[in-house]
């Protein structure tokens, strides 16, 4: 199955049991708005942890109807996050979401060795874009967590992302390893890593996907461009997942898609026990809602 747009994610969650989502430090307007909407849409069953009064005030002034929603009062932000993480690690919830708390505080708890959400896998960021000019949604990783992934990290990032795409119904997602050029160039590490990843995929050392790279951005997403260059590739022009060489490239691509191409985006953190919705403060309520939808669709 291929997702044409982010709304298609709804088809995955429809009919399935609702996932339990914990919003940690829930006194945050946009997050609450998105969570309440997702609850009303039957996508999730939320649990709010945070300053009860703050939460209620936000809901009243924004007309969010939260009658019947479970709220756990914990005014201390760090305590609220710890409680949220402990509940997830003891299987009381399926999804963790960041509210009014810094990412580093939340991730510190997630990585706690005793009661955190570690699985032994690298944590990585996974973003799913709906861009008008592409024929389906396109996933991009890693635009926010791993700064300069080495080959081993890239393997982990691909594995995280492919597992997620598999859950979204992609049995063999097409993975393009991005470079500045589609040729192998000894002076560009990204192209060398791309060659290795392709070979590991051929040898079934990276499974459940088709990897090709290096591919330049244009040949990754445009069949015409790939054909002009004479590239024979199963991936070129039909990419499901773009692997970024580093965070700078990834972040700029992400933001240019959002700002210039008016893309819709959903994003989650992968590699922990459960998907984590960790959108940035500047993300819109819609982006937060779509991210919740993505987390529910990719949750087991």
């Amino acid at each position: 199955m291929v997702l044409k747009n982010l709304n298609d994610l709804k088809r995955i969650v429809e009919g399935a049991p609702r996932k339990k989502l914990i919003l940690a430090a829930a006194q945050d307007q946009l997050s609450l708005g998105a969570v309440v909407r997702a609850w009303k849409d039957n996508i999730i069953e939320p649990i709010l942890i945070g300053d009860k009064e703050g939460i209620q005030n936000i809901c009243v002034s924004n007309n969010y109807d939260i009658a019947g929603l479970m709220i756990i009062h914990e005014p201390d932000t760090e305590m609220a996050v710890e409680m949220a993480v402990r509940m997830v690690s003891s299987k009381q919830a399926d999804i963790l979401m960041k509210g009014k708390v810094g990412s580093s505080t939340l991730l510190k708890c997630v990585l706690n060795k005793e009661w955190g959400l570690r699985t032994g896998n690298l944590l990585s960021h996974f973003a799913l874009f709906e861009v008008e000019t592409y024929h389906k949604v396109i996933a991009v990783t890693d635009v926010a967590m791993n700064i300069a992934p080495n080959l081993q990290d890239k393997i982990a990032i691909v594995n995280n992302s492919v597992a997620c795409l598999n859950k979204l119904g992609y049995t063999m997602p097409k993975v393009a390893v991005l470079g500045a050029v589609e040729m192998v160039n000894e002076n560009m590490q990204a192209t060398l890593d791309a060659a290795l990843l392709s070979k590991m995929n051929q040898r079934d050392q990276i499974k459940n996907c088709i990897i090709d790279g290096p591919l330049a951005f244009d040949n990754a997403v445009s069949l015409e461009s790939a054909q002009q260059k004479g590239i024979r590739s199963e991936v070129a022009g039909d990419t499901d997942l773009l692997l970024m060489p580093d965070i700078e490239v990834g972040n700029v691509l992400y933001k240019s898609l959002v700002f210039f191409a008016k893309a819709k985006v959903a994003s989650i953190i992968l590699g922990a026990l459960v998907p984590i919705v960790l959108t940035s403060r500047s993300d819109s309520e819609q982006a937060k809602f779509d991210s919740i939808l993505l987390s529910a669709a990719s949750s087991k």
């Binding site: 392709s198 070979k199 290096p214």
Partner: protein, 289 residues
């Protein structure tokens, strides 16, 4: 037998040993070479007499020591009076030093000097080209690419239009801890992208997956080389050299080989090799000249 366009003039350095003279004589008789024998002329003539060969078939140039003989052979090739240089009874090191000399040698500018061999093995269904059993101890990526290109060129001269080249390792699994495998993965992608042309490349592959279809079936590995390799590229001289010697000793293999990267073909063979092998080398060099 492959057809030769014209007679090649071959300069043999330190040419007085029986096997070399015998091989050259056979090639002259077949009509595809003219020989210039350089060495102690009295000894050359004596060896010819002992072997019942008419020494007048050859041009003989007198040289009273190895070095002079080598320098003369290289000089002849350099100035266009010979098309091929062949090592006689002289040590490989001395011989290559003269060939590689920056001013007077035969190196092409910026070329990698390497060795490609063609192995005939009764147990294999076709000729197997191998590289590099003799020149580069531990080839880096650029040298491996050159080795591949030379081997592809040679296989194509033998009429294999798109040779299958297996990059040999101990396993087909990719590991970044094996530097050679990293090079192999890079080369395969270069072949994918047309940066290395006219071949079907895969590696790392072990020898079974490279040359044995049964192993492919058993292991279920998907590879375009598919147990049908034309070329084996080895990760080191130390792995390639015993491979061919083992086949010659135990499996009736015959090897013909050539140095590549030079302006003109250069024949380097172990002094102990048979007349037959030397003859094949001469024929091969004429094909590549």
């Amino acid at each position: 037998m492959l057809a030769f366009k014209k007679k090649q003039r071959i300069a043999v350095a330190w040419a007085q040993d029986t096997n070399t003279i015998g091989a050259i004589h056979k090639a002259v008789n077949k009509g595809f070479v003219e020989a210039i024998m350089i060495g102690r002329s009295a000894e050359i003539i004596n060896t010819c007499k002992d072997e019942g060969i008419d020494e007048k078939l050859f041009s003989i140039i007198d040289a009273n020591n190895e070095n002079k003989a080598v320098l003369e052979a290289v000089r002849l090739a350099k100035q266009g009076d010979a098309d091929i240089v062949m090592k006689g009874l002289v040590g490989t090191e001395k011989f290559l030093k003269a060939v590689m000399d920056k001013e007077n040698g035969l190196m092409l500018p910026d070329a990698v000097l390497s060795y490609v061999g063609a192995l005939e093995i009764p147990a294999y269904h076709k000729l197997l080209f191998i590289t590099d059993p003799a020149v580069i101890p531990f080839p880096d990526l650029d040298q491996k690419i050159s080795m591949a290109l030379y081997a592809i060129e040679m296989a194509r001269k033998f009429g294999v239009k798109k040779p299958k080249i297996a990059l040999i390792g101990a396993s087909e699994k990719m590991s970044k801890n094996f530097e050679n495998y990293v090079d192999y993965a890079i080369m395969c992608k270069m072949a994918d992208r047309g940066q290395i042309k006219n071949c079907i490349m895969d590696g790392p592959l072990d020898l079974f997956l490279a040359c044995d279809k049964k192993s492919i079936e058993i292991k279920g590995v998907e590879t375009p080389v598919n147990g049908d390799a034309d070329i084996l590229l080895f990760p080191s001289l130390e792995s390639c050299n015993p491979f061919y010697k083992g086949l010659m000793l135990f499996a009736n293999g015959e090897l013909a080989g050539l140095i590549r990267g030079t302006e003109k073909p250069v024949i380097v063979m172990s002094r102990s090799e048979s007349e037959k092998s030397k003859y094949f080398c001469i024929a091969l060099s004429c094909l590549m000249a």
